[in-house]
């Protein structure tokens, strides 16, 4: 109960600010309507009318919640109006990109830790890659993928998600694989352990805390990548497409509902990674 208090207070403050903002931003429309009709409205009459517009500038929380509920529970999950359907499409691309990102990040980290040449040649490029705005890169990746004859939007979306998610994994794993101290490496030398044994018995287990810390960043980055990948493609599927359509066709409620669906999805994914971490940590003898 006491633990929930700070969260509740913050949520309350956000709700208050949000409602105030909704009244302030949506009032103009009410005044314009009244002007056109040649009537005069009082502030007390304005407020209720800011709460239930079809195209509000800023939809109040309850409208977003209702739209979200309708999108999640009010539609068949196979329907194109269902947020579950779109979220699933985005989730697929996210997980594909996340998986690719882990493979690429871990692979490059191993190469960098074991080879000075790789460190000198790859690491600067990895850093530069993250300074390129993904919004500029995403359309190119999609165009190139379709040029290369790749069917569907899944693969290019996955590649974009991978592009964003490999980097935290790479940085975390380089640090993690280098975390064993000189004494631990000496110990394995006294056993005449091979390079592979050195990796499997010492470096890899040592890197796990770093790995999971970076996974939490990587999964969120993969989701952002997948959504960005849905924006420029004229895509009709996914939360990103849903947001874009909402904004282009002046349907702010759609946009906000999709936005919150994406936030909830991100939250669930992070909880999932956190749970995996706890399971592994318990197996590795740490009291979670």
């Amino acid at each position: 109960m006491l633990r929930a208090l700070p969260v509740t207070v913050v949520l309350g403050i956000i709700a208050v600010i949000w409602y105030a903002g909704a009244v302030w931003l949506n009032a103009q429309w009410v005044y314009d309507q009244a002007d056109r009709a040649g009537t005069v409205v009082t502030f007390a009459e304005v407020v209720p009318q800011t709460m239930a517009q079809d195209r509000p500038l800023l939809p109040p929380p309850h409208q977003v919640a209702a739209e979200l509920w309708d999108g999640v529970a009010g539609q068949a999950v196979t329907s194109k109006r269902s947020l579950v359907y779109h979220a699933f499409k985005t989730l697929q691309a996210t997980l594909l990109g996340f998986g690719l990102g882990i493979a690429l990040g871990v692979g490059l980290a191993v190469a960098i830790v074991y080879s000075r040449t790789m460190e000198k040649s790859v690491m600067p490029w990895a850093i530069i890659s993250q300074t390129v705005p993904i919004v500029a890169l995403a359309p190119m990746i999609i165009v190139m993928a379709s040029q290369a004859g790749i069917e569907g939007k899944m693969i290019p979306k996955g590649i974009i998600a991978c592009y964003l998610s490999f980097f935290p994994v790479l940085v975390g794993m380089v640090k993690g694989l280098r975390s064993p101290d000189a004494m631990q490496l000496d110990l394995l030398a006294t056993y005449n352990a091979s390079g592979l044994q050195n990796f499997l018995k010492l470096r890899l287990p040592s890197s796990m805390p770093y790995f999971f810390a970076s996974l939490k960043v990587a999964i969120a980055a993969a989701l952002v990548g997948a959504i960005v990948g849905e924006l420029p493609s004229g895509a009709t599927e996914g939360l990103g497409a849903r947001m874009l359509v909402g904004s282009q066709f002046g349907r702010p409620l759609d946009m906000w509902a999709a936005l919150f669906a994406a936030a909830i999805l991100a939250g669930l994914l992070i909880v999932l990674v956190g749970w995996l971490e706890r399971v592994l940590r318990r197996r590795m003898g740490v009291v979670a």
Binding site: Q184, D186, T190, N192, A193, M208, G285, V286
Partner: protein
């Protein structure tokens, strides 16, 4: 330096050993002209102030450092060949147990690396844990054990694959006096039972005198041997032997050796 290795070939033989580290401030003579032979079953302590090269010499025996010049053989072969033949177990100053492995898992580590069979592994783990009086703690994780117990586990780990030589680098340095006394006593018993050759680095005079059949006194800048004392104490040593005149005499000679090393500077 006289040879006390007995009729058999010495287990460790160093002749004219030098090791110079190149640092930013110029060369550092970590070891200069070290001559020493260690016979089978001996318990040799290396004592001296920081920087005297005692740990460096131990690391040379373990082939973790490479001497600049001179000869060094371990079990009749080069130190590196001995390392590859897994001739020794090494106990570091810190227990250095893997936190993600149980005590048994930590002791099993060298056995896994060396490819022992599963059944053999279990039997060996059980035996060495019993040897260091940690039976029943195999399933515990390192953080559940005290510092002294962790260090005992690390000794078990070094014993698990039954190397003839045990190299110990200030293994009890971080422990309090009471635990240290107990572990010293246990280490002597273990040495008696296993008949291993032990090289033991310490900077405690009573510890060196109590444990050793041979005490090597070293001094710094450059790191070198200033005295080698063959202990007249019997193999069986109860803790109260430390009040005997013989013990006090040896301790006195060690202290003199350490002081002489300092005066030469």
């Amino acid at each position: 330096m006289k040879d006390t290795g007995g009729p058999q070939a010495p287990v460790i033989a160093a002749a004219g050993l030098n090791l110079t580290f190149q640092t930013a401030d110029g060369p550092v003579h970590a070891l200069r002209d070290v001559n020493l032979t260690v016979g089978k079953g001996e318990f040799v302590s290396f004592i001296g102030p920081s920087g005297c090269g005692k740990t460096t010499f131990l690391r040379c025996i373990a082939a973790l450092e490479t001497p600049t010049s001179g000869s060094l053989t371990v079990n009749g072969m080069s130190a590196d060949a001995a390392r590859r033949a897994r001739a020794y177990g090494y106990v570091f100053q810190a227990a250095g147990l893997y936190p993600w492995r149980t005590i048994a898992g930590n002791v099993r580590l060298p056995l896994e690396i060396m490819g022992f069979s599963k059944a053999d592994m279990e039997a060996r783990v059980e035996r060495v844990l019993e040897l260091v009086e940690l039976s029943g703690f195999g399933r515990k994780f390192p953080w559940q054990l005290s510092g002294g117990m962790q260090q005992r586990a690390s000794i078990a780990r070094a014993l698990a694959f039954d190397a003839d030589i045990l190299l110990m680098d200030e293994p009890f340095g971080a422990l309090d006096e009471i635990v240290r006394d107990r572990l010293n006593e246990e280490l002597l018993k273990l040495w008696n039972r296993t008949e291993k050759t032990i090289c033991f680095v310490t900077h405690s005079i009573p510890e060196a005198v109590y444990l050793s059949t041979k005490i090597v006194v070293m001094s710094p800048r450059p790191g070198r041997i200033t005295d080698v004392i063959d202990s007249p104490l019997p193999r069986e040593r109860p803790l109260d032997i430390r009040d005997s005149q013989a013990f006090i005499d040896i301790a006195h000679r060690v202290r003199e050796g350490l002081r002489a090393g300092h005066h030469e500077e």
